[in-house]
């Protein structure tokens, strides 16, 4: 690792530690990271949308025309319409002309809603129903190769998925009172939902923990070990500057911690006095 790359890694480590410092409280390091990411993320997505969205969808389609004729001589001049509509969106900030932005907004909403009706019905409702109502595997009802209740592809699991999904849907049906058989099915539905929520929650927690471990590994493997050259294959480019950068960042955080501790002591003393 050369010194330039180490400086970038140190910046990443500084921002990582700064973000983690929010666990203590909102502080200057966290604020720096928070404000920086707002600008960088906005700029990043603007550039990605420009190069991957606007250029291929608009500019490359109009490029056989002449810009001084507003590309009206292009082979696909109709693509000027969304561009004009897009510009009309910018009237949003004018009090007098903001109504103009409703036209492109209406077009956007209309097209999106029109696309959503059949597509969502197909993908989220019909296909989910097809996958839920499969033919029951009677030959392996209690599991493949004998009695195995934890077999997720057994006939019993297929029945449980169908009954569970239908019961959960019935739980969300509030046009009929949840009493009698209907109420019993709805109660089973909420059990299924609770088990599902628990499993999803546990899965999410584990994903976050993995991410947390990954950040700690980054700090240790990529930053601390490179700063002190304790990596498996010693870095030939290593110099004392690596450690110096490390200590500058650490002094910033330790200095802030000491300042906070002194402030805390002062507060406690003033309260007791």
């Amino acid at each position: 690792m050369d010194f330039g790359t180490f400086l970038w890694t140190s910046l990443a480590a500084f921002l990582t530690l700064g973000t983690f410092s929010f666990l203590y409280k909102d502080n200057p390091f966290y604020k720096i990271a928070e404000h920086l990411v707002t600008g960088v993320a906005t700029g990043y997505f603007l550039i990605i949308l420009w190069h991957n969205g606007l250029v291929p969808n608009l500019f490359q389609r109009l490029e056989d025309g002449n810009w001084y004729l507003l590309w009206l001589d292009s082979s696909r001049p109709l693509y000027l319409i969304p561009a004009i509509l897009g510009v009309m969106m910018w009237t949003r900030f004018s009090k007098t002309w903001s109504w103009v932005s409703r036209w492109p907004m209406a077009l956007y909403i209309g097209i999106s809603a029109g696309v959503a009706v059949p597509v969502e019905m197909s993908a989220r409702v019909n296909k989910q129903l097809y996958a839920t109502m499969v033919a029951i595997d009677w030959n392996n009802f209690f599991g493949h190769g004998g009695f195995n209740l934890l077999d997720t592809t057994s006939g019993l699991s297929q029945v449980l998925i169908f009954v569970g999904a239908m019961s959960a849907l019935i739980y969300f049906f509030f046009s009929k009172a949840h009493t009698g058989v209907f109420g019993g099915v709805a109660t089973f539905g909420i059990w299924v939902l609770m088990i599902g929520f628990g499993a999803s929650f546990g899965f999410t927690v584990m994903a976050r923990i993995s991410l947390f471990i990954n950040r700690l590994q980054f700090i240790d493997d990529n930053w601390v070990q490179n700063a002190f050259n304790t990596v498996r294959e010693p870095n030939p480019n290593w110099s004392g500057w690596f450690q110096a950068v490390f200590w500058v960042i650490m002094v910033l955080f330790i200095g802030y911690a000491v300042k906070e501790f002194v402030d805390y002591r002062k507060r406690v003393r003033s309260q007791t006095a």
């Binding site: 603007l46 550039i47 209406a106 909403i109 696309v115 989910q128 088990i195 499993a199």
Partner: protein, 271 residues
Amino acid sequence: MKRQIPLMLVLVFGMFLIFQYFIPHETSEKAYEFLLDWITIIGIFAMALAIWSLFRVTVAKVRTRKENWGYSIFTLVGLFSMMIFGWTAPNGEGWGWYFIFVLSVLMAIGMLVQTMSVKSGRGLWAGLMFVFLIIAVLIGIFDNAWSFHFMSAEPLENPMFRSFFDFVLMPILATTFSLLAFFIASAAYRAFRARNLLATLLLVSALIVMLRFNPYLTPIFGDYMARTSNWLMNVPNLAAQRAIVMGVGLGIVATALKVILGIERGYMGKG
């Protein structure tokens, strides 16, 4: 005209796209793709609105010297740096005057904000802005080590653009998400007390999934913990998720129909 035309547009385009789905013809497919391109383009123009909004809010914070206004400078630097790196790229190995150019543009923007912020001595800041702007323009014209690329995707390979993504954006986003591990744990402590059957079901299934990879439990439970966790994820969880997805799907369809038929008009705002 202010309200009727938008309602008509939503109705006409919405109904057209619903019926278009059931017409398996080349022209129908082309119309579908054409209109999808339209909303992509309109959406990107709307993104400019969002960026302008961010710029306005950030500059207003600096101008009025609101509390913590100094941090807004990081937002502006991050935003404009990414924009410069995303539209420029080095032509070879060397960088030439590239970084002086970037610094000049950022300084010019800083001076512009300062000109808007101060009540007296605007001339000085405006003058400095023009100096930095002229430096940037001269470097842009005469430096051949790098060039602007508005129509090709070369800047996406710009080492500075990639470094900002790898060493600024990704670490902060990944760390922010990993922070949720702590907040989610404190939320779980409050939500997971086994006060009744439903809370107990939630607690037990979450614990089984969380303890799945715990190496200390493997000698006691063997692979049962992993298999039970797998079953929980693929049977009850799948059933619950399917019910939710179907509910969400029906909700989206109902809302879309309300919008198309003009019952839901929130998108038009007031006036």
